[in-house]
Symmetry: C2
Subunit: 316 residues, 2 copies
């Protein structure tokens, strides 16, 4: 399998991307994994001198341009055809690579994922999830966290399926509990969307729906996959991220709150597109890059995309 | 002025309600404030023996029934006409009292406020706010936090006006900054509702609109009044409440996080109804009751209802 990695994305690129890639190759037992490093070839080679990767385990594809973190996503992707992100998606779309990872411009990654990679057949809207650290040490998955600000009940029902498959095969929950984020626990509570979504989730045999989840339970393990539209999900994610900032500013040292440092998780996958696309945090360091490659390789090893595809064939 | 107080509402009633009422009367310089204590007369008198209130500053209205914390709001209000909440709203609606406070069944308080007290003319939907503790020691106001799960742009625009008046006159912000809770900072971001609300807030001359507020800024002082529909607001409020629970469980002692103990704030007003109605936390102690009476008396002293009324006449 060939995993494409944007070497120019993120605040500490390409150094941390090179380190992460080297660490991953040094640690994996799967010798079939090949990395395609996409970016400024001379800079990449310079860092590779200090952080070598075994010959034959990687190749470099030169990209003359970089999309900045604050550029307009659609415009930048269109105008910068030689950027590492544009080339990364081109390689993925044409089958030269099997997955693509970047810690660069999030918007450009979303646009690229939606418009250059096909959605899995039957998936109405791909989604992006985020990890929620829980006190028992595990990670829940909140979907959607901003890709779909307005949703229909059927979208949330599909997020539940996609999220459950990711939670099962990547987060290692045997039978992930699905909760519907809501303003009350009882069936019948909620806004129009949540009220209409509840019966769909309840009737969905592909998921383990356990009912509504209130805000107070998002950081507990009442549900492993937390489903909501991207507006509420985005506000929740960024509020949770800000808790870590407050904890840091107040010089509080606590193992659990350290897990609110969302940088360490590497990145979140775009779920519902036909190939693994992973979007990293701008402030990704080597560990984050290594984790993102690990997740992408795991998604390929267990054929998560095939499982998702079958799931939607089953549903149809 | 005559403030009605439900003595039977909350986990520690009527003792803590009596203590709070006694503390308030002992501390206030405004001798024109009279309290109407509504509840089980013999129990109230029993506690008054230990926590006396000056004669002439209070009267007792006996209520033979209590609405439990988990009773169905509409049904309970209808069936328990002799409950302290039903009597409290009856006294308020008929002008026997000027305000009503309860730490009892939240749903029954909402239903009572909406159906026995008229909305201010021009107000489409009354709302409930909650305080958001910020690191600078101040409190922001988040509206709505659950009364209106589905909203139209005009509702949010009105919440902004009501919230601004409350923030100015009760929370003492000179010119409260209004922020629209959203998933991005730039104008044009958001779900359909937020996108349609932005221009209304921008054009509203009665408020000091400062733009969109992301989840990460809710606990900062970027905006003093944070406007959103009640679905997102409820999830945010309960998530913030759960942070305090986590902090407590992890034995973290921190002045700022102590302020996430929402019990201490006494209660939140229903904004947009023609008379002060304040809903307290179930676990209210004496300080919370005292604070709620203080807020209600302040709302009456400065004629906040009149100011709200004028605001909507102006808008019309």
């Amino acid at each position: 399998m060939n995993i494409g990695l944007d070497m120019m994305g993120g605040d500490f690129a390409p150094l941390e991307a090179v380190k992460g890639a080297a660490d991953f190759i040094a640690s994996t037992t799967n010798t079939a994994i090949h990395l395609t490093l996409i970016g400024d070839e001379s800079k990449i080679r310079e860092h590779l001198a200090d952080h070598p990767i075994a010959a034959g385990r990687y190749s470099i594809v030169h990209a003359a341009q970089v999309i900045g973190m604050h550029e307009h996503p659609t415009r930048a992707l269109k105008e910068k055809q030689q950027s590492s992100i544009a080339i990364g998606f081109h390689l993925l779309a044409t089958g030269k690579t099997d997955a693509f990872i970047s810690a660069g411009n999030t918007g450009a990654m979303m646009v690229g994922a939606l418009f250059s990679i096909k959605a899995i057949e039957g998936v109405l809207r791909p989604t992006i999830g985020a990890y929620m650290p829980r006190e028992d040490g595990s990670l829940g998955l909140l979907v959607d966290v901003g890709l779909n600000a307005d949703c229909k009940p059927e979208n949330l029902n599909q997020f539940a399926i996609l999220g459950s498959l990711f939670a099962k095969h990547i987060l290692n929950f045997e039978n992930p509990k699905v909760g519907l984020v809501n303003l009350g626990e009882e069936e019948g509570k909620g806004n129009i969307l949540a009220q209409a979504t509840y019966p769909l989730l309840k009737a969905n045999k592909q998921i383990n729906f356990t009912g509504n989840i209130e805000g107070r339970d998002i950081l507990l393990n009442k549900a492993d996959v937390l489903v909501c539209e991207g507006f509420t999900g985005n506000v929740v994610l960024k509020l949770a991220e800000s808790i870590y900032d407050i904890v840091k500013r107040r010089d509080i040292h606590d193992e659990h709150f350290d897990r609110f440092n969302f940088e360490q998780y590497g990145g979140v996958p775009v779920l519902g597109v036909a190939k693994p696309v992973i979007i990293g945090h701008g402030i990704s360091h080597a560990l984050a890059f290594k984790n993102m490659i690990r997740i992408a390789s795991r998604m390929l090893e267990i054929d998560l995309m095939g499982k998702m595809k079958n799931s939607f064939l089953e549903q149809a």
